[in-house]
Symmetry: C2
Subunit: 615 residues, 2 copies
Amino acid sequence: MALLIIEPYSVKVEVKSNSTILHALLLAGIKIQSICGGFGACGKDRIVVTKGLKYLNPPTKCERKWLSEEELSKGYRLACQAKVIADGVVSIFIPMESRIRLGEMKAIVNGFMRKVKLEPMVRKVHVVLPKPSLKDLKSDYERLLEALKERGVSIHKVDLDVLRSLPHILRKSSWSVTAVLWGNELISIEPGDTRREVYGVAIDIGSSKITMHLVDLVSGKVIFHSFLENPQLAYGEDIVSRITYAISGKNKAEELHKLLINAINELINVAVKQVGIDARRIYEFVVVGNTAMHHFFLNLETRYVSQAPYPPVVRRTVIVKAKELGIIGNLGARVTVLPVIGGFVGADAIADALATGILKTEDEVLLLDIGTNTEIFVGNKHHMLVCSVPSGPALEGAQILFGMKAVYGAIESIKIYPDGEVEYKVINNAKPRGITGSAVIDAIAELYRNGFINSRGKFRKNLGLNRVRKGKYGYEYVIEWGKKTAIGKDIVITEKDISEVMLAKAAIRSGVSVLMKKLGIKENDLSNIYLAGTFGSRINPENAITIGMIPPVSVDKVKFVGNTAIAGADMALLSISSRKEAEEIKSKVRYVELSAEPDFKREYVNSLYLPYKEE
Amino acid sequence: MALLIIEPYSVKVEVKSNSTILHALLLAGIKIQSICGGFGACGKDRIVVTKGLKYLNPPTKCERKWLSEEELSKGYRLACQAKVIADGVVSIFIPMESRIRLGEMKAIVNGFMRKVKLEPMVRKVHVVLPKPSLKDLKSDYERLLEALKERGVSIHKVDLDVLRSLPHILRKSSWSVTAVLWGNELISIEPGDTRREVYGVAIDIGSSKITMHLVDLVSGKVIFHSFLENPQLAYGEDIVSRITYAISGKNKAEELHKLLINAINELINVAVKQVGIDARRIYEFVVVGNTAMHHFFLNLETRYVSQAPYPPVVRRTVIVKAKELGIIGNLGARVTVLPVIGGFVGADAIADALATGILKTEDEVLLLDIGTNTEIFVGNKHHMLVCSVPSGPALEGAQILFGMKAVYGAIESIKIYPDGEVEYKVINNAKPRGITGSAVIDAIAELYRNGFINSRGKFRKNLGLNRVRKGKYGYEYVIEWGKKTAIGKDIVITEKDISEVMLAKAAIRSGVSVLMKKLGIKENDLSNIYLAGTFGSRINPENAITIGMIPPVSVDKVKFVGNTAIAGADMALLSISSRKEAEEIKSKVRYVELSAEPDFKREYVNSLYLPYKEE
C-alpha cells in the first residue's frame, strides 16, 4: 500500500500497487476531468506529482504525447497513466484545469426521489444502567433490557456478538451505553452516547457500474457518493455471458459474487475515510440491482434466471447480516436486498417505481429504465405491468461503426438540414472521435424527417446528396469529414448502424406496445413518460418519438428522472414505510414475460418500422 | 488418520495419530473395562490386535507389567497404552473379559426424566411442487411457500443457505422436496422425502465431563450416548482457575471455547458414524452447563461471573446457529442453550429442575446436584429457591490423603463396628488402592456413630483401639493394613481428611439450611430429597444424614435421579413446551447469593459440627 496525499484537498488515501492515480481519485470521490474514461485519449486528467515520483511508473508513451518535456520535468502526469508501483508516500496536486465542477457527475449517481418521512430501521437509544450489586443480581443483558423497557423499547432478538461485547462495554463506559436497534433486534451496543452517528449505505449494482451512497441516517442526507465499474465486466458486458461463466465450473459463481463484494467494500472503505467516520457506525445497507446482479450479490444460483421460464430464486425482500456476506460495517449491520419482480426485472426496477411513485397515481404512466436491458412499466395505482427487453449495447454506442460512450470527443447530438448538411455537438467541444447512441437516434430521426431514409431505415436512392454515399458497409451518411475529426477518418453513420439502433428501439417499443395494449391504454392516456438511467438522461425526446422508441406524446410529458434505482435504495434506507412499499410494489406489479405473449412478435415486427407501423 | 476396526462389533472408526485405542473406543461408544480411567493402573482394558500391529507404538513398560510375553506375542495390548502412531488399518478384538455390561455406565450418562409429549421444534414437511412454466412464473422460493401454505405451514424466515441450495435441489429431485422447519423458520431443504430422518443432540457440558445424547426426533429415543473428558481440565479442575486462565491474555477465552467446540464435534462425528446417519440430518442441539460452561460454550465473557456480585452476561435462553459456533450438523441447525439462573447456577440446574419436575409439585422438595459446585434447590411450585455452594473436590476424593475417584481398586463403602474393626467394599473386589469421597462419608458417619470422633470430627482420646493412632498428619484411622493393600501402605483416614469432607458437607448443609429457613421449611416438611449427579448417585443416604450433609429425613425419601442435566436437555429437544418450561423455571426460581445472606456465616459454622449444631 502506498499513501496518496491529494492536494489542494489534503485528502489521504491508501493505494494498492499497480493502481492508477485515477482509480485512487475515483475511489476517494475526487472528480477530475477524465472524459475519455481513462484510456489516455483525452489528456485532460493532468496532475502534478509534488512528492514520491519515484514510487510511480515512468511516463508512458501516451503521456509523452500529451505532456511536454518541460511539463514532465515539473512533475506533470496523466492520472489515468500514472501508476503506483511501490510502497511510499506520493503527494499530488490537482491543477485548476483538471478539476471538475461538482454538479457534472450528478446525473449519473443521483435520481429523482419522492420525499419520505425520516424513519430508518436503525435507531439508537442511550441508557444509563444501575450497577449490579449483591442486592441486584440481574445479568448484564437483562439489566440492559430493563433499562430499555423503561424507555418503551422492547427487544425480541439479540445477536450473539452483542452478548459477547456487552460485559466489557458496560463496564468500560461506566454503564452508560447506546443500544443500536434494527427493528426490534438488538444489533450492537456502544459505549457512551453515540446517537449522532448513524450511517447507512445504499448500493445500486448495475451491470456496468456500482453506485454507492453513504447516508447520514440522523439528518437523512447523502453525505458521500461514488461509483466503480462493475468488476464483472471482465466476464462479459451482458448478463448472459456472466451467467454462462458462472455456471461453467465450480466456484465460478462464487468468484463473480466475490468481485461484487470486494468492489462494494472498496467503495465503503474509501467513503468512510473521506468522510472521516468509523465504518462500525454503518448499520444498514440497502442493495438494488437487476435479478442477475441481485442473485450474484447474494450468491444465489443464476442458471435458471437465464433459461425459460426464467424463474428467480426468490422475489421477496431478503435480509441478511453484512457479516455473512463479508461486507464491511458494524458487526451487526444488516443488508436489505429489495425484492425482484420477475425475469430480469429486479430490485432496481422496484427502486425505480419506489422513487418515482408510479404506483401512487391515478394517472397512467410509462417508465423506461433504459440500459442493456430496458425495464418498462406501464399503468397506474390500479394496474401496473412491467417487462424487460434486451435492448442491447447499441444505445451505449457498441456495435455502431463509430459508436462510443458519452465521453470526451463523442458527438452527442446531431441536427441534419433539408439540404443534407449537418450540425453536431461534441462533448467538451473537442474534435469528434465518434458518436454516442443518443446521437445516432438524432441522426436517424433527422434523416427520416428529411426523407433521406425510408420507414425501414434504408437510404432512398438518388438523393444527390454530398454526404450520402455507398461505403464499405453499404449506404452511409457522413457526419464529419476526416480532416476535421480527431481520428483522421470520416465519421459516418451506416445503414447497418441505423439497423442496430432500430433493433434496440423495436425491442423497447414492442414491449411498450404489448403492455399498453394489455391494459387498453392509448398514447393520449399517458400523463407522463419517465426516462430513467444514464442513457435515458441523454436522449432527445422529440427524436425518440420520431423514430418511435417511445409513443407519440407531447414532449413536455417526457421527464428525465436520473438514477432512480439508487434513489429508491436511499428511500428504503431512510424509511421503514418505503420498505413496505417496495414489498407492495413487488406484489402489485404484474410481470409480463414477453416471450409468452402472442402479440409480441407482431408488435416487434411493426416496431421495426419508422416510427411504428400501425395496423 | 488410521482406520480402526473393532470386533466382534464390526465397528469402524477413524483414529487420529497419537490417540490411544481406549480414546477411540470411548468415542465409538464402545464400553470396555477401564476402571482406573486409562492410567494403566488396572490392566483390565485388554484387547487383541489382529491386524496392523505395526501402526501402533511398541508395548509400554506398563503393558509389560500386566501382560505376559506370550500374551504380547499373541497381540494382546492394553487399550489405554496402545497408541496409533501411523496411518493404516488396525483391527482389534475385544475379548469377553474386557467387555462391560451395557448398564454399568448408565447412571453416569442418563438421568430421571419426566414423560413429555413428542413435539420438537424441528419438523419436516414433504411437498411436491408444480413445475414453473411461461404461464406460471413464480420464483422458486415463492413456489415452495405456496405449496407449504396449502399444507397449513407458514414460514416467517428463511436462511440464505436455503435459498442458495433451493434451485438445484428442486430440480435434482423433480420438485419433490422436504422442507425442514425450526419453529416457523425454514432452515433446510432436502431432495425427496426425508421425513424419517430427524435428529437432535443434547449436550451437558460439565466441568469435568461432556455428555452427549443423539436423539431420534421421530421416535423420541436416545439412539446413542457417549461422553468425553472436558478438555478444559488441562487448565484447572475448578472453574475459577479456568476463568483466571481465560482472562490472562488475548485469545485465551477463545481457546477454552474452541476446546469445548472441538470436543463436541468429536462426539458428534463418532456418534453419526456409529449409528450410520448423515450429520446433515442433525437439525438441533440443546446445550446445558453451569454458568461458566455456558459462557465458555458461547464464548461470552467469564470475567465477571467470578467476581462479586457475579452477574452472568445473559440469563434467558440463547439461540444461535450451529454454523456460527462451528458445530457439525445441518448447515441450518440451531443451538438452543437453556437459560441460567444466576451466579454459578446455570442451565444444568434448569435442566435438573426440568427433568425432575420439582416446580410442578405442591410438596416441598430438596434437590442437590453434587459436584465441585453443588446446586441446591428448595421449595415447591409456589416458591423455589436455589443457591450454589463450592463443595470442592474432596467429595471426588481429591485433597484426601488416600482419596481417589470411584474407579478400580477404590474402597467405595465402609462399615465400622463398635469394637473398632472395619469392613469395606472395593470396586471390582480388587485389592484396595484408595478411598472414594463417599466412603470417607461412610467412615466419618461410622466413627461418629460409634463415638470414636466427636462432633468436631476429632478422635476422642484414649480409645484404646488398634486402628486409631497418631500418624504423620495427626490422628488417623487405619482402614486396611499395608500388607493387604495394592499399594503396600496402610490406607488411613486422617483427621485432616475428615475435616476436608466436613468442610464440603458444611458448605452444602449451610446452603440447604439458609434456603429452608428463608422459606420457613422444616425437615418434616420435605416430601423428597433428590440427589443428582455422579457423586450423588454413590452416596449412602443414611450416612449423609448422620454426618448432616442432608437434613434428617426418612431414608426412603431420598431419591437418586442420576444425570438430570442431560435428561433435561433431552426434554427440551423433544418438546417445545419443555423449552417454555425452562424459561418459566428461570423466571420462577429465585437465586440466592449466599454471600449476601446474613445468616449464611452462622449456618456455615453450625454445619461444621456433626451432624449439625441446632441453636
